[in-house]
């Protein structure tokens, strides 16, 4: 299978079940909402080192938010149920609570599993906090130096999907980067999906474990590192000199598939040799996204 002369390898991306929450952060301006969201989702690229994965899903218009202000939708994922509220409480408390003018609302109101994020953060009010029930939902009002911070008492949690991916194998680094940027542009703002890595792109894909250091859980993916082509069991064709990976997390499989479809099509540009995907032979993750099936 080829798209614009780029070979689509007959393989699949292997992804994992994660726990996901969606936060709606609003602010007096989109700039302040975005500022809080950027800080909230900072250092949240991979559960390997950050214990969570997070990213901005999309920007929200005034009429899409509960308080009628501009906002940003954020997806937040962890590997297990217990660590999601822990991460959210710490991060929302240090980033959204501290950011001028912002408020924080649940973006998964139908989810039966509820995380007591606002309930935990309310004690920052030192007894001066107050709650309000509006439309059947409880909100906490925390007095702060600026005025008041408003946060919903609980946030919904669903099973999500983490680790959807595809790799761009290009003839040179410039072509790989241009292809990745085009893919990210096509995937940005699609519902139910985030790209947690810097600019949505990973240059240092990893393999499980290490050949040399026993205590490491992940090390460089030497099979896809072009500088190691001559000294390792490389999976790169002769003409490939640079590889970039797009990693995506989402609320569900169909959202991941739709985003991969848009991203791969945009990534098939001049200078790109092959699009492939990372997997572990299907042994680790229950979600398998077959590239040719998605694009077919």
């Amino acid at each position: 299978m080829k798209i614009n002369g780029v070979a689509i390898e007959d393989t699949f991306a292997e992804a994992f079940t994660m726990r996901v929450a969606r936060l709606l952060i609003t602010g007096r301006t989109l700039g302040w909402a975005r500022e809080a969201a950027v800080k909230l989702t900072g250092f949240a690229t991979s559960v390997i080192g950050c214990k969570c994965e997070a990213g901005i899903e999309r920007e929200l218009r005034d009429d899409e938010t509960p308080d009628g202000r501009p906002g940003v939708s954020v997806l937040f994922l962890t590997m297990d149920k217990a660590s999601l509220p822990e991460q959210l409480i710490v991060r929302v408390g240090q980033t959204v609570l501290t950011c001028p003018t912002t408020a924080c609302f649940d973006g998964l109101p139908e989810a039966p599993d509820r995380l007591p994020v606002g309930k935990a953060l309310r004690v920052f009010g030192d007894g001066f906090q107050a709650s309000k029930v509006i439309g059947g939902k409880r909100y906490w009002r925390l007095p702060v130096m600026e005025g008041e911070f408003l946060i919903e008492e609980t946030f919904g949690m669903l099973k999500g999907v983490g680790g959807g991916n595809f790799l761009i194998l290009a003839r040179d680094a410039d072509a790989a980067l241009a292809s990745a940027e085009a893919a990210v542009a096509a995937m940005t703002g699609l519902p139910g999906v985030i790209l947690p890595f810097p600019g949505g792109v990973v240059r240092s894909g990893s393999k499980v474990g290490s050949q040399r250091y026993k205590n490491l859980i992940a090390t460089t993916n030497d099979a896809f590192a072009p500088t190691l082509k001559a000294v390792t069991q490389s999976q790169l064709p002769e003409v490939v000199n640079s590889v970039l990976e797009i990693v995506l997390d989402g609320t569900d499989g169909p959202s991941i598939e739709a985003a991969m479809r848009a991203g791969i099509r945009a990534a098939c540009r001049p200078g790109v040799q092959t699009i492939t995907a990372g997997n572990y032979g299907g042994r680790l993750g229950p979600h398998h996204f077959y590239l040719r099936k998605i694009l077919g």
Binding site: P66, R69, G135, R141
Partner: protein
């Protein structure tokens, strides 16, 4: 089972009619005959709901009342769920001791709407009362939880002794509004006389008021000006003669 139950006032009461049997959640399990047989008190004499109302529909938690019910008291008393829509004015004690559901009144209400039964420590403990008109004295008195919205004027002692919850008055709030407030919020979009035991805190844009007014606009189709949604409010803490954890929020403009 019907989509809704409609009570149409056929015989206007000549004296005060206490109809505390009218509650949307109670009607959800009753046939039309059973509803008509519910007891009421007319003057000091026992009667049935069917003596005054024609009942259409059965076993529904959405109840509509048609007719001028200004002499009928205690409608929605102790209601715990469902929706009660009243086209016309009602007497005192609308939704007293209510704990859930919604009452949407297209008219005026008498005294003690959302308040407490005589001698009780607590008024309504949940649910929403929307009065598209004015209320009598002591609406929301001793409210423990819930929401009371008055699009017209509030009487004397609106929200008196509130323990928590929210009262919104769009028109003029009467004297003594919020007196003996322990917790809870009184949002005054119109003129309000602040009790001497409330102290000014600041002028700001309370985020929960924006959320609440937007909710009322969307869910209850209340006509709320955007200047009130996004506007500035003076916050007065009180009642400092009581617990002092309540607030009176007075809209002061854009």
């Amino acid at each position: 089972m019907s989509d809704a139950i409609t009570l149409t006032l056929m015989t206007a009461p000549t004296q005060t009619l206490v109809a505390d049997c009218i509650a949307a959640d109670r009607f959800a399990a009753l046939s039309a005959q059973a509803i008509a047989a519910l007891p009421v008190v007319h003057g000091a004499r026992p009667a049935t709901l069917g003596d005054f109302f024609r009942v259409r529909g059965e076993r529904a938690s959405v109840v509509r009342i048609e007719g001028d019910c200004a002499r009928i008291e205690a409608i929605g008393s102790g209601m715990a769920g469902g929706e009660l829509v009243i086209d016309g004015s009602v007497g005192r004690d609308l939704g007293v001791a209510m704990s859930g559901g919604r009452i949407d009144l297209r008219g005026n209400a008498g005294a003690n709407a959302g308040g407490a039964p005589a001698g009780a420590a607590r008024g309504m403990t949940g649910g929403e009362i929307i009065v598209r008109g004015s209320v009598g004295d002591e609406a929301g008195a001793r409210m423990r939880r819930g929401l009371l919205v008055v699009t017209g004027d509030g009487g004397r002692g609106t929200g008196k002794g509130m323990i928590a919850g929210t009262v919104v008055v769009c028109g003029k709030a009467g004297s003594g509004t919020g007196r003996f407030l322990k917790r809870g919020s009184i949002v005054a979009l119109g003129e309000v006389e602040r009790p001497a035991t409330f102290r000014y805190a600041c002028t700001y844009r309370p985020p929960h008021v924006a959320l609440l007014l937007r909710y009322l606009g969307a869910r209850c189709r209340l006509d709320v000006a955007s200047a009130q949604v996004t506007g500035r409010y003076e916050r007065y803490s009180g009642d400092l003669a009581e617990l002092g954890k309540g607030e009176l929020l007075r809209w002061v403009g854009e």
